[in-house]
């Protein structure tokens, strides 16, 4: 609790610091860029110590993901493509963990894969966290029966296309080198026709757009997606066209998703940091513009 109050006091000091920066800028004094970096580091780090929960409202696009998931009945098979790597984990891993927890609690059958080499490792990390949950641990879930990780396959969107014909042709064995035919969960799973939903966690290419082009529009696959904030604006047109059923964009999308599923995790605890960092960036933009306008006036 002590850290909470110290962090809050320091954040107040940062607020006063911004007023001082504004004053210096108006006076025509240049701010050292390293000072700006340091300011951002403090703005991002201090809220991590604060035990305060900012209000989060679930957006319609995240609600659509939630409705798609909750409409699945127990035993439904979900293909989860983890198309990201550790650099994008702060945004996408919380979505993956929240989804995996919810899915395993509700007896959905999960088939993980990755079009990015480190995607399956991220899936394993998510699975480890989900399996540690007391409710899920009590279910004594078995690898190969309740969930499976098919691993990485190179070939980008051509893998998605080929899976429309046969999953086995792309994944003759899983991540643990168990042959496809020996995995009980995959018995009868030939292609997308036996899959109830594809969840895609994407940080770029290949990712959600490739899944839409090669699986949704070609094989009428039901797809929901979680994207990094950089990628999300590119996916919105597909959301409007109904090609993707719901979209989680960036850390705020992840926090909304955690809230909607009642699976609080990392994203919910990061959201205050993000709120303060956005505030700092906005204030710096305003200060910069005011300074520019004042110099123009003087000239």
């Amino acid at each position: 609790m002590m850290g909470h109050y110290i962090a809050l006091s320091l954040l107040a000091v940062l607020g006063l610091g911004m007023i001082f920066i504004f004053y210096l800028t108006v006076k025509g004094r240049t701010i050292e860029r390293r000072f700006v970096f340091l300011y951002i580091v403090f703005t991002v780090s201090l809220p991590l110590f604060v035990k305060m929960k900012p209000p989060i409202q679930v957006s319609p696009e995240v609600q659509q993901v939630v409705e798609t998931i909750t409409s699945l009945s127990p035993g439904a098979k979900v293909l989860i493509s983890c198309d990201f790597d550790p650099p994008s984990a702060p945004e996408l891993q919380p979505m993956l963990v929240a989804f995996t927890k919810y899915a395993l609690k509700h007896d959905l059958k999960l088939i993980f894969m990755g079009l990015w080499p480190l995607g399956p490792s991220q899936a394993n990390r998510g699975l480890r966290l989900a399996l540690a949950d007391t409710i899920i641990a009590a279910k004594n879930l078995t690898y190969g029966v309740d969930y499976v990780n098919l691993g990485f396959q190179s070939g980008n969107e051509f893998v998605i296309q080929a899976m429309g014909g046969s999953f086995k042709s792309m994944f003759p064995q899983d991540d643990r080198r168990i042959p496809y035919d020996s995995i009980p969960l995959l018995n009868g799973v030939v292609n997308y026709r036996q899959i109830d939903l594809v969840m895609n966690f994407s940080a770029g290419k290949p990712g959600t757009i490739e899944w839409i082009q090669n699986a949704v529009d070609r094989y009428q696959v039901k797809l929901s997606a979680g994207n990094t904030a950089v990628q999300a604006p590119q996916v919105y047109p597909y959301l409007r066209a109904g090609q993707v059923r719901g979209l989680m964009g960036g850390m705020s999308g992840a926090a909304e998703f955690e809230l909607a599923l009642n699976e609080k995790g990392k994203a919910s605890s990061f959201i205050l940091s993000q709120m303060f960092s956005h505030l700092a960036v906005m204030l710096f933009v305003i200060v910069g513009n005011v300074a520019w306008l004042m110099t123009r006036k003087k000239k």
Partner: protein
């Protein structure tokens, strides 16, 4: 504080890379070189085993003694021809596999992009401006449809260069610029959010996983 060696390495590397924000220094240079070297090595190994060994070699000579896929020889030959680029004398041969790749990829992508990113998008844009819901007008959706229609038309007019952007035509083009600017602004906002998320992730790692200050 963490007692794991890996966590310490990752934490010190993070600090090393951040140290560039102060100024260029030998610690940063070491971290940068380690990062580039290990990434290159990792990718080389992944692609060697996934493509050359698993797909090509085991495809042509299956380990279970089954008949290999003869079509893979075509890919192997094209791959070898690509290496001709390393020689000044026979470098021109590398154009053959390159043209094959360009042609095949263009053919495969053309339909996908045309259907998913052109036709479907056009269809979703050409919707009724007035959206009804249960007999009444859904004002929120209607306003959204009108905004989309105005943005599409004005945006297209802005990119129409066969007529000078003056008068009413120029006015609509200006509206198009505004829509483009708002789009770029929203996109930039999302990018800032993404970059900040990465920084938050690193800070959480340093203060949480490494120093154990965040529970």
């Amino acid at each position: 504080m963490s007692t794991e060696f890996g966590v310490w390495v990752a934490a010190l590397m993070t600090i090393g890379l951040f140290s560039f924000l102060y100024k260029d220094n030998p610690f940063f240079k070491v971290c940068e070189a380690v990062f580039i070297g290990s990434s290159t090595g990792y990718w080389a190994v992944v692609y060697f085993f996934d493509n050359l060994q698993k797909k090509l070699w085991e495809g042509i000579f299956p380990p279970d003694g089954a008949v290999g896929d003869a079509w893979l020889w075509g890919g192997a030959i094209l791959g070898i021809l690509m290496l001709c680029r390393l020689s000044n004398k026979i470098g021109w041969i590398a154009r053959w596999p390159v043209s094959f790749i360009v042609g095949a990829t263009a053919g495969l992508y053309m339909i996908n992009y045309f259907v998913s990113s052109a036709m479907m998008q056009v269809a979703s844009t050409m919707q009724s401006l007035v959206v009804t819901n249960g007999g009444g007008i859904d004002w929120q959706a209607t306003i959204g449809s009108v905004v989309v229609a105005v943005a599409v038309v004005s945006g297209l007019i802005y990119f129409f260069f066969s007529k000078e952007h003056t008068g009413a035509f120029g006015g609509v083009a200006k509206v198009g610029i505004w829509f483009l600017m708002i789009t770029f602004g929203a996109s930039f906002g999302y990018t800032v959010m993404s970059r900040m998320s990465l920084l938050i992730g690193r800070m959480d790692y340093l203060f949480g996983d490494w120093l154990g200050m965040i529970r």
